[in-house]
């Protein structure tokens, strides 16, 4: 087909486009995915029975804050990377995700200094270190699927990095929801195993990006 003919055809379908569409699409995907994750978590794992009491202790808020901060950072990166001219380099994504991790590491260090060394292994491993990262990875899947579907309609050009940002956002969203289930009381546990689950979701996103996001 000749290019002029193609242009004629394309120019027959020019609906107005509302500004900010890509951001709305991504945020809707994030919200929809998070809702699906919440429902799945409620059905499969259940919310912690002492949730109301836990709201009075700082640990729940530390978990939620950690997850929320990472989710906001990753979503902002994914929004940038959904545009073709994004020049966000990989180290930028890592550097942007670092402050919440360092802050949590500071809290964990304080916690350790206040506890006898003999308690450290129990604080680190808790009662669920084997399951925790896997569950976070599992519960990240609905959000990851939604974000990937949304991004496919946009125009990412750095596919692995865009996938990683979507994976990080979905891992963080899953962590937020999972915090309402998991009663592990130590920041060291959260820093280790929650982060491992989030990192796994990020890695999965980076692997899937080049396969799912091509256009």
């Amino acid at each position: 087909m000749h290019a002029d003919l193609l242009i004629d055809r394309l120019a027959q379908d020019v609906p107005p486009v509302r500004p900010g569409g890509p951001s709305r699409l991504m945020l809707a995907a994030l919200a929809g995915g998070a809702l699906a994750t919440t429902v799945a978590m409620g059905l499969i794992a259940g919310f912690r029975p002492d949730l109301a009491a836990a709201m009075g202790s700082p640990m729940l808020w530390i978990k939620l804050g950690y997850a929320l901060a990472l989710c906001v950072i990753a979503t902002a990166a994914a929004l940038r990377l959904a545009r073709p001219e994004a020049r966000t380099p990989a180290p930028w994504l890592i550097a942007a995700a670092l402050p919440p991790v360092l802050l949590l590491a500071g809290i964990a260090a304080g916690e350790m200094m206040r506890s006898p060394v003999s308690h450290w292994p129990a604080m680190w491993l808790g009662g669920s270190w084997r399951e925790c990262p896997w569950r976070i990875l599992f519960f990240s899947l609905p959000v990851m699927a939604a974000l990937m579907l949304a991004m496919r309609r946009l125009a990412p050009t750095r596919l692995a990095l865009a996938g990683a940002a979507a994976g990080l956002a979905s891992g963080a969203a899953a962590t937020f929801v999972y915090s309402l289930h998991c009663a592990e009381p130590s920041a060291l546990f959260v820093l280790s195993w929650y982060s491992l689950g989030i990192a796994a979701a990020t890695g999965l996103g980076a692997l899937l990006g080049p396969r799912l996001l091509r256009w």
Partner: protein
Amino acid sequence: MRASEEQLRMLMTAGLAGDAGAHRNLLSLIAPVLRGFFTRRLGELRDDAEDLVQETLIAVHTRRATYDPRRPFTAWMYAIARYKLIDHFRRHRRHANIEDLSAMLVREGFEDEAGARLDIGRLLRGLPAKQARAIADTRIDGLSIAEASGLRSMSESDVKVSVHRGIKALAARVRGK
């Protein structure tokens, strides 16, 4: 005469508001620009330029919502064109020769962001020495495979493999992987 950034951005913005005439003008104006862009970079594959022009026009049309009117239009358009070009090279399992690669890495003139320019020497420094030498000998200094193999006392197939692997690594880096 080439359309200016300002003119293209105005047409794009009008198109986003639903002005089909402006949108058609925009596509007509960028088609020859894209043709030049692809023809220059495809080397011996320049027969594929027209396919890429059309693919890019379709992408500019269907993914126009990803254009942010506060940013330069040409940077957005060339980002799409560059993505389509790299995807094309990858799909066809062929490789850009080194001149094309360096041309792809050099930003277009109006995207004059400081520090965005990469030079081929810096790129080659990131490769294993053997691959970098083989590429420099055959693709920059213009030696034949036989001459390069004599100069470096490597077998001809070793030179060929080094060039091939080196360019593959460079192409991967261009894609940002």
